[in-house]
Symmetry: C2
């Protein structure tokens, strides 16, 4: 690049750039230009293009010829628009110098504010602001920021000087230092610079500007920025633009002020102009919380009627602001979050951006904007993040319920949970496997507790704040959590916690309110979340768009009912083992396991048959004509045997009985139960177990068919890795199914399929598809085996992996598309090649993760299946997937 | 098929078929034709082609038109050649009717002998044989066989009648029945047939023949045969041929006889004609062991000089036999196993086939035949089965050693082993991990013991025979075993066994001789196997042919030395953890594990550094300029901590110490250690461990380099599943390596590579190859994860899997080419695409399995690595792979 246009001006309603020039001007520069062109009053400035950055690096870190001349010309333009002059000791123009790449890289690159100050111009600032203290403080900050960013002197050196000054003046806070002290600090800072660099601090504003621009270019290639780009796949050759913009001040008197506003209510989505402001203040005063911000208009005053609104104080400015916000919202067709400053009665917009909002608000705004004709339905769908819905879908405590609140902690993760108290993660896992609802109570949690946190309905800790491990992890899991509840004293060894004179022991019920932090004794009544009409409207649009079906993982009629309410289109995974843990079944299940031979086992299985049949009937009834995929027994048998501790507690057992049980348990012990005698391996060594289950399924279905139901059972064989495993178990299942149907005189449509959860199954999916009528990807186990990670044990190293950047995400939360996903995709291709009408689903927990759902859509699955509460999330994600691929 | 040639005659030196007509005539028919054409006297007969079988099934189980006429014509030809007539009461022609498919299907299809007998022709047989008893016995057997094969009457019905007859005559054995009794039996058999079928037993020989041919066709489609074909991939449309051949008898007087012979000695391979015969006897008499067979020639008489040889008894017949054997060996260019019968002075060859032989014999014959110009080197190589070499490569007990033999059991699996006694499989595994040599002693073994049997050097059981679980499995593993040693009394609970007044306790040394069944107290001196010059010659040809390199898995200088002796071309896997189990290291290793922080850990690691360095130096010295691949620490740390039982025994530990150790052990406990905190996961959480190991490797290499050695260290990172894991650990390894080399002033060639043992590593091999300089497939773990089989636990179901035909082989013995192999092949392709000069090896136990070695060659690996004693097996298998692909 030898010569050309390097610099793009914006100001006074005219800009040389546009929103679509992001590649050239960076995101910030393009937006400032766009706002200016919209007639929004933006402090004047200019953008040095990204091409200059590229040229700078190609040209041995030298500016291209002609750049400086263009900068000077544009400085002149700013001076004209702003009525101030660079270096003018009476009314000095001060500017900010900021980086701005094509994509925002928050915190990665440096900024210099108040550039243009020196011993002369500070006098002008005093004159304009009327405050010597403010002016010297601005000066001090400028010297520190410039020295750090441009000259590379560590910030802490300046902090030391400041601290020393405070000590010498006997004050604790920076605000305790008066103008004279700050003036001394400036001098001391400059002496430090001379000491460190051997040169005087530059007083010439143009020299300041020249160096600051170079420093921004340099910041593009810091170690930190390179690392960030690598992680986020941003090419180094993009370069950054530099934005030079005049400073405006909201603290130049009572005709000045500053504020922030949203074009609609970010909490509810209501269509009201919503914001806060302060007169004679800087931006940081509004957010710092030292002064209470005023409402922006009368409509918002409500409880704070003594605070005057901007609408009342400066009606003209307010009018202008209102007209601007409408223009901006109209232009961007989305709710905006705007920052403004009033300098001596003149309104400036500093920034407008898409406003963050709650889930409820996002839905309302999206639906309203469609009704207002501002956006179309597809845009509305994309405006709501699937994961966000999680906030809306959790149960809450019945507001009518009488509660015995025993303590209050931090409301660390929303929702409510009822359960029996456990004190170790391991215990939580064990109880959850038995379908018990538990609350995990710990002094504080650590990565080793992850599995237990996952298994628990809610988490209560006595230590740690809103960003403690428990709080962060629970929010990530969408799980109710009360953290840092200092009132309770946890004795993990004694398995109890106390609060005042109340003692809560292991097994006692408590209720948590993660939205208020309340800890409640006993089981409070929970109510299902009420979903707005807007939610229903949005979801109806979602369903028009998506092609991926959404089923649910449910093992009980209750869960099935909830899922149907959330729009589930069938059950993708009904785990039969959970039915075995019921108190009325466990003794029979254990008799079956303890059987010394096939005959004894058959007797026990005969006892289980009517129970299983009953289970299936109830679920079929709820699901009506929707498909139900039932997985045959999967876990290793030892999981159903009692532990030694539990045995000792049982008075009904003789010493001999206990010995026998312990001996059996020992004989079933496995080194790696995850890779042991489970799934279809059980069905092959003990075919009678699967035969009983298939009989129960088909007897239930046939009897309901006789009552007029349309039942479509899908029998799923778990843990198949070899076609012969499926052939063997399918053959016996078909035999039993046909026998039952013949006996009942009923002819049902049914399918027999398999989980694809062992890598080998995916690798040989072409063979397996010759027998399987559907594939359901069990991505939990598939992830475990493909990575060689035991989920129960990975807690020790997985957090370090994510932290050190070895893994981008926890692969148990979002599917590892490169590895595990590659296997899934391979299995889909191979399976479809063998059997073109093969049905594909996913029933691992990834089925409720938006990123994973989009992946499932992309590779052509038929459905995803997830927990009932995540069904709407999956539906929305499936619609996003369609819209994003167009 | 309407009309054509259905039947192919052979006899009297002329046959219509040839050896290359197997598809049409089946294996047996083609061979009989070939022998006839060679001028070998074969009893005349004819073959009905496989096309007839196909036509039979296509034509609704009817013979094609014209078949019977051709059969009658050929019967006439036989009659002329043999000088006997079908149905002639004076000199009857008797025939056998046998199936014969393209590929031998042993035991799958039926045979009828002595066809042509009835109440008239039996008189002719009496006349010819001079024995009424023999003739009625033949008649009885014919009726039973025919009724069973052709008429479908169960054999046991006939056995009942025979039993009854013996009871009535007061004799116990069949041979106790005289001619009269047997005649009665024939009548009773026929009455049974009438009873069962409502029809008389067919007396007409032609009717007998007609039905027998149909029965052979039918036997092609029995359930059993279909199953066999399915397992062996034999298409059903191939069909079977039917061979009708005249019977000859070796028991028609002292001018008749029968025998078997080998064209060379099957035990030693020596070029001598070697065989046994009996005069006036049937084939079964030779093998039944009731009469002692005579040597075939004078050369063989040796110790049995009182037995007359065929050479002496019938010199002309012997001369003819000698000329025939030479012709056959010359023609087939391989050692033959022949069966002959002399009927009234006339020699008939009944069969010739490739003779089975020992490994030593196979090698000698192959090398001799090359020297004789009979075969070329490539054929010689293919004549020795790689697996067979195992017999030759095991150590044996020094014949000079004085032995304290305390018991003798069955010589169940050859070789010798010395080790400390353990009584449980689990204990065997644990001790082996600590590099201890153990002998597993059990009352009997079961599938649960597999891992322990694998870990032990030898196995001793007090119960079970040559086909007991212990014997079969040990032979499969090529592991020394003495089974069924009833003299010893095993008390597994008390951890001891007794024999007479000797008590052997856990930890005591014993020696087993698996070739003699001897159990020896103490450590006997073992000697390495001595290999013949022929072996060396053959292996030199092997090395000319093969392209796949063969390395060894060795962790000690001793093992490395053995492997070099066997032709290893480097170390493919040197496991460093085995070095940690040494008695002098374990305390330091434990200190490292118990460390509360990095500082304490570094102190312990500093103590380990010189030990590790010493280990590597010793191994490098043995391997000289051959490459050595060293795997950094792999197992989970808890494996190095003592168990509670062991702790209690240690008097040096305070109660407090024990508590601390147990607490640490508990904190390191894992649910699925196989998928837990091990391999590079340790190297990432505790980088200092790998840093110490890399330092030790490079200090050792540099110091030896200074002494003039050429060391090429290859550092291998285990359990990588994600490119970032390798990037992280490689970076730190390179840093340490470069530091050491700089410090020592030495510049070594070295490589850093990775195990591919996690499915995800294979799936993302293209990414991983950007960092890895070599791949070594750890197919043990890869098999575990790809199947989801824990090797430690699969013993419960894997035997049932192989038995039920769900898996063709144990995938831990022979690589699963479809699944695991697919991943390996994928990784090779992807890896090579990223880095064309990438080196590929395999270091799982499959590296010593011939089938797996051939697979490795086919997919283009650079080398296989296996245990020292399997190196020659792998070399030979690699040569086979080359020769088979041409």
């Amino acid at each position: 690049m030898t010569e050309g246009k390097f610099v793009y001006f914006f100001g006074d309603g005219k800009a040389e750039g546009r929103a679509d020039m992001k590649n050239l001007l960076g995101g910030k520069g393009a937006n400032l230009a766009e706002m200016t062109n919209l007639g929004v009053p933006v402090p004047a400035g200019f953008t040095i293009s990204t091409e200059v950055c590229t040229a700078y690096y190609e040209n041995n870190k030298k500016y291209p010829k002609g750049l400086w001349q263009q900068i000077e010309e544009n400085i002149n333009k700013i001076e004209q628009v702003m009525g101030a002059e660079f270096g003018d000791p009476d009314n000095p123009l001060l500017v900010s110098v900021r980086s701005g790449a094509r994509i925002s890289m928050p915190g990665m690159m440096d900024t210099v504010l108040n550039l243009g100050l020196n011993d002369q111009t500070v006098q002008g600032l005093i004159k304009q602001s009327g405050s010597e203290r403010f002016s010297y403080d601005s000066y001090r900050r400028f010297v520190q920021m410039y020295s750090n960013v441009v000259l590379g002197i560590k910030g802490e050196e300046f902090e030391k000087l400041l601290k020393k000054k405070k000590a010498s003046r006997g004050v604790k806070k920076d605000t305790g230092l008066d103008a004279a002290a700050l003036k001394e600090v400036v001098a001391e800072y400059k002496a430090l610079v001379k000491d460190e660099t051997g040169q005087d601090f530059p007083d010439d504003p143009k020299q300041q500007l020249d160096k600051a621009i170079g420093a921004v270019f340099e910041s593009w290639n810091t170690e930190r920025a390179i690392q960030y780009r690598k992680i986020n796949n941003i090419p180094g050759h993009w370069g950054t633009a530099v934005n030079v913009q005049s400073m405006v001040f909201g603290n130049l008197g009572d005709d000045s002020g500053t504020g922030v506003a949203f074009t609609r209510d970010p909490a509810t989505g209501e269509r009201v102009f919503f914001g806060e402001y302060l007169l004679n203040a800087q931006g940081e005063d509004v957010v710092a919380g030292i002064r209470t911000p005023h409402p922006i208009n009368k409509a918002q005053k409500k409880g704070n009627s003594h605070l005057s609104s901007l609408e009342e104080e400066m009606p003209e400015v307010y009018q202008e602001l209102e007209s601007i916000y409408q223009r901006l919202e109209q232009h961007y067709a989305d709710m905006q979050d705007i920052e403004f400053t009033i300098q001596k009665g003149k309104l400036y917009l500093l920034q407008t951006r898409t406003g963050k909002r709650t889930a409820a608000s996002a839905i309302k705004i999206a639906v309203d904007m469609v009704n207002e004709g501002l956006i179309d339905k597809h845009t509305a769908i994309l405006r709501v993040e699937p994961q966000q819905l999680d906030q809306l879908l959790h149960p809450t405590i019945d507001p009518e319920a009488k509660l015995d609140i025993i303590a209050k902690g931090l409301p660390a993760s929303p929702g409510a949970a009822v359960g029996q108290v456990v004190f170790t993660a391991e215990h939580a896992v064990k109880e959850a496997e038995r379908d018990k609802k538990v609350i995990l109570v710990r002094t504080e949690t650590s990565p080793e507790d992850i599995a237990g946190m996952h298994a628990a309905k809610g988490i209560l800790t006595s230590r740690g704040g809103m960003t403690s491990h428990a709080a962060v992890v629970a929010r990530g899991m969408g799980k109710c959590c009360v953290a840092g509840c200092g009132a309770i004293s946890v004795d993990e060894a004694a398995k109890k916690f106390t609060v005042g004179n109340v003692t809560v022991s292991e097994g006692d019920y408590i209720t948590l309110n993660g939205s208020t932090g309340e800890v409640i004794l006993g089981k409070a009544q929970l109510v299902e979340p009420e979903l707005s009409d807007d939610f229903a409207t949005l979801m109806s649009w979602v369903d028009e768009v998506r092609t991926l079906k959404v089923r649910t993982n449910a093992d009980t009629p209750e869960d099935s009912q909830v899922a149907i309410g959330f729009g589930a289109e069938g059950i993708g995974l009904c785990r039969t083992e959970h039915m075995f843990f019921g108190e009325d079944r466990l003794p029979t299940v254990r008799r079956m396991i303890m059987a010394n031979n096939k005959e004894e086992r058959l007797i026990a299985l005969k006892g289980l048959l009517p129970m299983q049949k009953g289970d299936f009937k109830e679920i079929f009834k709820v699901m009506k004509d929707l498909p139900v995929t039932i997985r045959l027994l999967d876990p290793p048998l030892h999981e159903f045997l009692p532990k030694k501790e539990d045995l000792d507690k049982d008075p009904g057992l003789s010493a001999e009985d206990k010995k026998t049980i312990l001996k059996k348990a020992a004989s079933l012990h496995e080194v790696n139960p995850m890779l042991g005698h489970r799934g279809c391996r059980l069905g092959i060594t003990y075919p009678e177990i699967y035969e009983m289950q298939v009989q129960a399924i088909f007897e239930a279905a046939c009897e309901l068919a006789q009552e007029g139901y349309t039942i479509i059972p899908e029998v799923m064989i778990p843990l198949v890795g070899h076609i012969e495993e499926l052939r063997f178990t399918k053959k016996s299942a078909v035999k039993v199914a046909e026998e039952v149907m013949q006996r009942c005189g009923v002819n049902l449509e049914y399918q027999i399929g398999t989980m694809i959860e062992v890598p080998r199954a995916a690798l040989t999916a072409d063979e397996i598809a010759t027998e399987a009528e559907f594939f359901s990807f069990g991505t939990n186990d598939l992830t475990q085996m493909t990575f060689g990670f035991s989920r129960d044990d990975a807690g020790v190293f997985l957090p370090a992996y994510v932290e050190k950047g070895i893994l981008p995400d926890d692969p148990f939360i979002s599917i590892d598309q490169n590895g595990v996903g590659q296997l899934v995709e391979m299995a889909v291709k191979k399976g479809r090649a063998s059997r073109p009408n093969l049905k594909f689903g996913i029933c691992g927990e990834h089925g409720g993760d938006p990123k994973s759902v989009e992946f499932c859509h992309r590779i052509g699955l038929t459905y995803v299946s997830c927990s009932p509460y995540r069904v709407p999330i999956a539906r929305l994600a499936a619609a996003h997937a369609v819209l994003k691929e167009n």
